[in-house]
Every structure is written in structure tokens, then in C-alpha cells.
């Protein structure tokens, strides 16, 4: 395993745990993008990396349990639900957590019963 770490402060623990838990799971795809680290975007925030987990396996039980885990995690970590868009079987839920020092955004995308994408973007101010 590569010595790549994305250590975050305790307040974003649960979401981080989900990524750690499933990153090497055969049923998932995991992507970490640290290419723009420290780049300042148009909102004046510094990029701290992005992570993505994708579930493409048609396993209804896994989908459900994974969704539940994510729900619990965002709640435990203190995220606020910023957007909820439903369009027939597609769902996009956005969560934001902002403190004076950092901003984290989690997006949960579900495409029917086939795909789930979980994305975590982290910024410092």
C-alpha cells in the first residue's frame, strides 16, 4: 500500500472511516484526487483533496446498508443537508459542514438501483 494519507481532524471522523473501510473492498471503486492540493478556488478556499467511492454492484442489501452508513456518518459528523434533488429514480443529496477553519462537502448520488457515488471534498480557509 502506498503511504498516502489523508488524515483529518476528529470532527470529520465517521465519513473518513467509511472511505477507509471500503476503499479496498472488491465491490467498490475508490479514487483519491490530491492533484490540486492547496490550490485556491474562486471562493477563496484551499483544496484539501477529494475522495470518491463508487458502488456499481447490483446488490440491493449492500446499497441500503451503505446508504444508512452514510446517513449516520454525516449526522454524527455534524453535516447539514444543503440539497436534496430527486428526479424519478435518481437522487442527489448534498451535505456541508463549515467551521472557521475548514469546509467539507459530501455528495451522495444514487442512480436508480444501480449506482451509488459518494464524494467528499475538503477545503481549508
Amino acid at each position: 500500500m502506498l503511504a498516502l494519507t489523508f488524515i483529518v481532524s476528529a470532527s470529520a471522523q465517521q465519513i473518513g472511516n467509511i472511505f477507509d473501510k471500503y476503499m479496498e473492498d472488491e465491490r467498490f471503486q475508490y479514487i483519491y484526487d490530491g492533484s490540486d492540493l492547496q490550490e485556491v478556488n474562486e471562493k477563496g478556499l484551499k483544496n484539501n483533496g477529494q475522495k470518491m467511492l463508487m458502488l456499481n454492484v447490483a446488490d440491493a442489501n449492500l446499497m441500503e446498508s451503505f446508504s444508512d452508513e452514510v446517513q449516520k456518518a454525516v449526522k454524527a459528523d455534524g453535516y447539514e443537508n444543503s440539497t436534496y434533488v430527486r428526479h424519478s429514480k435518481n437522487k442527489v443529496m448534498g451535505y456541508v459542514k463549515e467551521t472557521s477553519a475548514r469546509k467539507d462537502e459530501v455528495t451522495f448520488i444514487q442512480n436508480g438501483n444501480e449506482n451509488i457515488m459518494l464524494i467528499w471534498e475538503s477545503y481549508t480557509k
Binding site: 483529518v8 465491490r27 479514487i31 483519491y32 492540493l37 490550490e39 485556491v40 477529494q50 477553519a101
Partner: protein, 174 residues
């Protein structure tokens, strides 16, 4: 000239095909217009003239948002003081650049197996994040703003309201 007469008749009936109209346009644009057809020449050349002469005014595309500042990670990586400060804040640890990796910025694990090729990993990551961005934008923005757009440019609604104002009744009934 029989052909042209036939075509002209069909043209005024509104039953010419695109190809037939092309033939008529070519004919009227040529030097060989028969005297009995001369009176129709301006009709055909007017449309041609309009197409060539009437052009849209210049639209100045507004300036786009300021490009973001680019602070490369390399500069910060070597500025150890700032790295230490960031670590102290407990926020993030910069990627560890190991020797075998030319591009350590991406880590992609597909179904339990890591994509070793850094270039492939990068491509895959970029593709996926772009896709996610698209989906997010499309779902969230499109739903909200498409509704606005559809409302604004709702032909039926605007015509319906115009009809109430009796403006269109007179023209459409002709």
C-alpha cells in the same frame, strides 16, 4: 422553359421540394432568365440579399470570473515551515512522494486492486470526478434552473396570454 414554368407553379402552390427550390434559385441567379419570368427575379434575389446583408449586431461576451490563484503544492511542500504549521493545525498531511511514483497525486483502487500506472490512475480519476461534477450540476442546477427557463420561454403560455390581449387573434386568423 416548361420545366421552370412547372416548378414555378409548384413553388407558388407551396409544394416544391428543397431540391426544386434550389433549382429555381439557381435559375433566377443566372443570366438566362426568360422574359416572361423576369418579374419574379427580384423575389428570389431579395431573399438571397437579405441573407447576405442582414447580420446580427456585435455581442460582447462578458468577462468570465477571475481565474483562481494557482499555488502549486510543490512550492508548499518544500516550504517546510508552512508544512509544519499545517500539520500542527491537525488538518492535513501532504501526500508522501515516494520514489516509484511520478504522479503521487492520485490513488485509484478498482474492486480491490490498485491501478499502478500513475497516468491511468490520473485519467480515471479525472474522468470520474468530472462525471460526478456533471451529474451534480445537471441534477441540481438543471432541475431548478431549467424550470425557470421553461417558464420564461414557454411559448404556449406567452401566446395564451397574448391571445387574451387580443393582439394575436387578428394575425393568426389570417
Amino acid at each position: 422553359m416548361n420545366d421552370i414554368d412547372t416548378l414555378l407553379n409548384r413553388y407558388f402552390e407551396g409544394s416544391t421540394t428543397t431540391e426544386e427550390e434550389r433549382i429555381l434559385k439557381k435559375y433566377f441567379g443566372s443570366d438566362m432568365v426568360a422574359p416572361q419570368h423576369e418579374m419574379y427575379r427580384p423575389l428570389f434575389s431579395l431573399f438571397e440579399k437579405e441573407k447576405q446583408t442582414i447580420i446580427a449586431p456585435f455581442f460582447a461576451v462578458p468577462e468570465e470570473a477571475q481565474k483562481r490563484e494557482r499555488i502549486t503544492s510543490h512550492r508548499l511542500w518544500f516550504a517546510s515551515a508552512s508544512v509544519a504549521a499545517v500539520i500542527l493545525l491537525g488538518i492535513v498531511i501532504f501526500p508522501f512522494i515516494s520514489e516509484s511514483d511520478t504522479d503521487p497525486d492520485y490513488l485509484v483502487i478498482v474492486n480491490g486492486s490498485r491501478i499502478a500506472d500513475p497516468q491511468k490512475a490520473k485519467e480515471y480519476a479525472e474522468k470520474m470526478f468530472t462525471q460526478a461534477c456533471e451529474i451534480k450540476k445537471e441534477q441540481v442546477h438543471s432541475l431548478q434552473e431549467a424550470k425557470e427557463m421553461i417558464e420564461m420561454y414557454n411559448a404556449e403560455k406567452i401566446i395564451g396570454e397574448a391571445k387574451k390581449g387580443h393582439y394575436l387573434n387578428t394575425t393568426l386568423n389570417q
